[in-house]
Symmetry: C2
Subunit: 145 residues, 2 copies
DNA sequence: TTGCGTGCAAAGGTTTTGCATGGCA
DNA sequence: TGCCATGCAAAACCTTTGCACGCAA
């Protein structure tokens, strides 16, 4: 695999390290910037955006948007390439983001593809609804009222 | 149903009309603004945003976000409230909006609810990917190249 | 007349672009 | 040395807010 002629710079290294270390969570440009500044290796946001774009093209990170008022989230994805597809559930009430890995969803993707001719992109798709905790809170309130 | 004390203005009327006429597609604030300007009844974007916010609170429209760099999409929703659960598929490439009614999805909702404790709201959820036509076009291009 | 509705202008935030400088090879 | 990488500043972009005026009731 060629590195698209990129130089090996300190900035590229620390950004990539951060993404790999946090591959289990979704991070924003601000997260990266704040962390690197705190580590004493600050990197300009412009540079972070440009690196993420490159990593995106190379398929090393995934980008998705939960909400227009929220900034874009990124996640390191190299090792996920061929593992389970996973969806994101977002709770309308508390805003929590849930990662859902489930064979049901693989089947769903298959089904929508074969029966409806639509190739679903789970990384761009966010399922909205209400999480367990918020549902409980709502029930408690209703009972109290 | 009370109208939250709102006045009946020309702007409210033309915006609501537009939303109802285009209830089968996702529209942006720019779409609305451009159309109304073309119709000779221009309405400031501020007003459009504010009306959509109100309609959102009243549950008369739904709001979707495709991408952070794209503007938010809205859709009139009143008459769909009690009809079949159905999902929307949106093609990333051509922007087409597909209504998908399928028992598979009912099962999915059931499953996510019972197994994962998450109550999915199909009306707020849009599944992104590529439609049949665009997939074919991509294949044709790849064969030609 | 009262008070919400309107729209201009300006601010808010995220992301992109221009350009001069810096650093890798 | 050549050329890409960097980062500041500024622009672009969507959206929200402040404020004075207009208009429905």
């Amino acid at each position: 695999m060629q590195h698209s002629g990129g130089y090996k710079t300190k900035q590229r290294e620390v950004i990539l390290n951060y993404m790999i270390e946090h591959q289990n969570s979704h991070v924003t440009v601000n997260h990266i910037s704040d962390y690197l500044t705190g580590q004493g290796t600050p990197v300009g946001v412009t540079t972070i955006y440009r690196h993420l774009d490159k990593l995106l093209e190379q398929g090393l990170v995934r980008k998705f948007t939960v909400d227009a008022s929220t900034c874009a989230c990124f996640q390191y994805a190299a090792h996920n390439e061929d593992c389970h597809q996973h969806f994101h559930l977002k709770c309308d009430t508390c805003g929590k983001l849930i990662h859902l890995e489930c064979t049901h969803l693989d089947e769903l993707i298959q089904h929508i593809c074969s029966e409806h001719g639509f190739e679903l992109d789970p990384f761009r798709t966010v399922l909205y609804g209400k999480c367990r905790d918020c549902l409980q809170n709502i029930n408690i309130k209703e009972q109290t009222t």
